[in-house]
């Protein structure tokens, strides 16, 4: 059980690392946004999974999952809003 949690945690940490690397290394904003949306949700998801596996009670597990779902919804919308805002500006600059 613990080994599974450790592995999941490490994988999650790796995704966060990848997200940060993408944020820093990718050349332009849209590709950075793409990297970000995937990395952080997956990273958080894996860590949440690890915590669920080792959680002491069902309530804790459910709460952690709820946090993940809310974060997922919020971050998806944020990324959408940001993308839209970038698009709008690019259009304006083209005009």
């Amino acid at each position: 059980m613990h080994i599974l949690a450790v592995l999941l945690c490490l994988a999650g940490a790796f995704f966060f690392l990848a997200g940060t690397a993408g944020l820093l290394r990718f050349p332009d904003s849209p590709s950075r946004l793409h990297a970000l949306t995937k990395a952080d949700n997956l990273g958080l998801g894996l860590i949440v999974l690890a915590l669920v596996v080792t959680s002491s009670s069902l309530a804790v597990a459910l709460k952690v999952i709820l946090v993940w779902l809310l974060a997922l919804a919020a971050s998806t919308s944020i990324c959408f809003l940001l993308g839209q805002s970038m698009l709008r500006q690019d259009q304006r600059q083209d005009q």
């Binding site: 613990h2 949690a5 450790v6 945690c9 490490l10 999650g12 940490a13 966060f16 690392l17 997200g19 940060t20 944020l23 820093l24 904003s29 950075r32 946004l33 970000l36 990395a39 952080d40 949700n41 990273g43 958080l44 860590i47 949440v48 915590l51 080792t54 959680s55 804790v60 709460k63 952690v64 709820l66 946090v67 809310l70 974060a71 919020a74 971050s75 919308s77 944020i78 990324c79 809003l81 940001l82 839209q84 805002s85 970038m86 709008r88």
Partner: protein
């Protein structure tokens, strides 16, 4: 297990510190907001890990609020074109 969680939390914190560079550099405002968004999610992960490490359930509530309210700032930023800008067009 506690030490391990703390270690992962510290590692995530490190990625956050490194990610600060994107906020410093920009160049677009959206890049900075993206980095902030990544911070938010990483922060939620750190909070959850610390909650597990210290066995404090109230920290999960903080994580929950964090997860949701990160929207607020971005929503305030991305409020569509200003009335002013529309008039210019």
């Amino acid at each position: 297990m506690q030490t391990f969680y703390l270690g992962v939390a510290a590692f995530l914190l490190l990625t956050m510190v490194v990610g600060l560079i994107r906020i410093f550099r920009g160049p677009r405002q959206e890049d900075r907001l993206m980095a902030m968004q990544l911070f938010g999610t990483t922060g939620v992960a750190v909070l959850l890990l610390l909650a597990a490490a210290f066995d404090a359930s109230s920290m999960r509530n903080a994580a929950l609020i964090f997860a949701v309210l990160a929207v607020l700032a971005v929503a305030a930023y991305a409020r569509g074109p200003n009335r002013r800008e529309k008039e210019i067009k």
